[in-house]
Amino acid sequence: MDSEKIIIELKDLSKVYKMGEENIVKALDHINLEIHEGEFVSIMGPSGSGKSTLMSILGCLDHPTSGQYFLDGQDVSHLNKVQTALIRNNKIGFVFQSYNLLARMTALHNVILPMVYSRFKKTSHAERDKRGRETLEMVGLGKRIHHLPKELSGGQQQRVAIARALINDPVLVLADEPTGNLDTHSGEEIMDLLHSLHKRGRTIVMVTHNPETAVHADRVVHVRDGVIAKDETDHNGVLSVIP
């Protein structure tokens, strides 16, 4: 399923936080990473390992201190606020642990919001509506498009969030602990949904601290103390370490 096309390429990437004159924290220390189109990758690590920082940088929410980040072939390491906003809008779909739906908007309106902010694809109301309905149907919520988030269960809310992540057809879906707030059953349903997206060729990067969730991916990247400690690829259910 993996293609030769590289979606994410990190070259010698570091992120350093200065907490004071003397206190320097190296959240990411000279990381190199390649993720190909169609891969489903888990990024694992305990808290403080640097995985959240990595997630922020992969999501173009933060800039690296040094090194380069190529997303879909474009160097996005030092873009300005407007440019990164456009990249996030166009190339990245976010799925958060706490869903982060806008409370006073219906499921449909939440889903089409990224289309509203889009600069590249100008769409009419009717187009957005159609696209939103289709996407909500795809995640199995075709009958709840006019519900408010509070009228939906956690699992359903996360489905809406996934639909929102997919609406602009991004090159990368970035999921941050997508099952962290869900019970086991709903969590499994969400993982099944991510699997089916993966089967249809989506590139998915999932950040988690939970090994049980991580194994759903076909590649697990372990981050510890700001470096990649282990990079395992699962072939036929067996995780093997990439040399």
Binding site: K81, V82, A85, L86, R88, F96, N100, L102, V116, Y117
Partner: protein
């Protein structure tokens, strides 16, 4: 992000907490309404003053004594600086003048038979009153020069006063008792109504000389003599006004033994009087409007305050919007549009309240008002400006938020 999206997002923001939005708008509503109403009241006052002065008559000159500084003078001996009845008579001899009128008023009880009316305004005046004051005689005749010369005990009634005293009976040649003296009614004025705040129809008119002699308390008479406050002069030809003003000044200078430059009198045309009066009211009106405008600024601060609260409350929402691709400008416009919506809605309601209030003031007689269209525009535009000015800082704060911090805000 097009305009309709920005408006719909702003609308959602405003309606999410209706009570708070209404309270926030209240500052702007009060400010805008106050500006419009203050300007309407001041314009109404100016208009009614102008109308009152116009209604006095046409082609008029007003001779008045100046308010002068310096040490107090003894009015009994200071004949140089006062205006006196003989001055009025003298002015009447200037050519091109069709009438000279001056007044001394008193207040007396008027009695006819058993019918007594208390505290009637007694106006001592001259023969030219009907022409100069545009108040023609209805029945009988008005006071003649001979009445003035003889200090005759005659009187002319205002129409309302005539009805109140005599009912439907004919008052001509009847005797009435005014104060301590019996007077003969020689005429009744045609109904004139209220002029310059005075009801012409409720007064009784006597020769001014009669008032000097009989209706001025003796100590008072000793002190001020035949002094008058204002001499009103009617000029035949409008084009001769300036010339007549000069002639009056020369005459007064001669009579009072003063130079024209040091004359303690002012001779004003009707339009001068209107200009002076309206200048005073409009200066006062401008001051009040400025005070009202301050409340508009206070309303703006209210908007800024609530927008800052709103930005803080919705930090998480801002983070989500940023994550899915909102640019700083998208966020800025969203909050700016919200502030603008609050101020424009407040402005619109303020215009309604201001116009409505002005109309009610006028209708209920609290104050004459004239709604000035430009004041509506001014107040509304100020409200919009206030919205943009006080909305910009909170909107900018929102736009500058770091997406990671915003997303993790609890």
């Amino acid at each position: 992000m097009d305009i309709s999206e920005i408006i719909s997002i702003a609308w959602n923001g405003v309606t999410s907490n209706k009570l708070r939005s209404i309270l926030t708008m209240l500052g702007v509503i009060i400010g805008v309404a106050a500006v419009i109403m203050v300007i309407a009241v001041s314009a109404g006052t100016e208009a009614s003053i102008a109308a009152q002065i116009q209604s006095l008559g046409t082609n008029l000159l007003f001779v008045t004594q100046n308010f002068t500084g310096g040490p107090p003078r003894n009015p009994a001996t200071d004949t140089q600086n006062g205006l006196f009845y003989p001055d009025a008579t003298a002015i009447g001899t200037i050519s091109g003048i069709t009438g000279v009128e001056t007044e001394r008023t008193a207040s007396e009880n008027v009695k006819y038979g058993d019918n007594t009316i208390d505290s009637v305004s007694v106006v001592g005046t001259t023969a030219d009153f009907p022409t100069v004051r545009s108040s023609p005689i209805g029945e009988g005749r008005f006071i003649a020069q001979s009445d003035l010369d003889q200090k005759a005990t005659v009187a002319v009634l205002g129409s309302t006063l005539a009805t109140n005293l005599f009912g439907s009976a004919d008052p001509i040649d009847q005797k009435v008792i005014v104060g301590n003296y019996q007077l003969t009614i020689i005429g009744v004025l045609a109904a004139r109504g209220v002029v310059g705040g005075t009801d012409y129809d409720a007064r009784i008119y006597l020769p001014i000389t009669t008032v000097f002699e009989r209706y001025t308390p003796s100590q008072f008479a000793r002190v001020i003599g035949d002094r008058v406050n204002t001499i009103v002069v009617q000029v035949a030809d409008q084009s001769q006004m300036d010339n007549t003003v000069l002639q009056i000044k020369l005459l007064l200078a001669q009579r009072h033994n003063l130079s024209v430059d040091s004359l303690p009198f002012t001779v004003q045309t009707q339009s001068d009087v209107i200009t002076t009066q309206t200048a005073t009211t409009s200066a006062f009106g401008t001051l009040l409007a400025a005070v009202a405008a301050v409340s508009l600024v206070v309303g703006g601060i209210g908007i800024m305050n609530i927008m800052l609260v709103s930005v803080t409350e919705r930090t998480r929402e801002i983070g989500v919007r940023q994550a899915i691709g909102a640019t700083p400008n998208d966020i800025r416009f969203q909050f700016l549009a919200e502030a603008l919506m609050l101020s424009l809605a407040g402005g619109l309601l303020g215009v309604l309240v201001g116009v409505g209030g002005s109309l009610i003031f006028n209708a209920t007689g609290i104050s004459a008002t004239v709604i000035v269209p430009s004041s509506i525009l001014l107040a509304f535009a100020s409200a919009a400006a206030v919205g943009i000015f006080f909305g910009y800082y909170p909107a900018n704060t929102a736009a500058q938020l770091d997406p990671i911090d915003a997303l993790h805000y609890e």
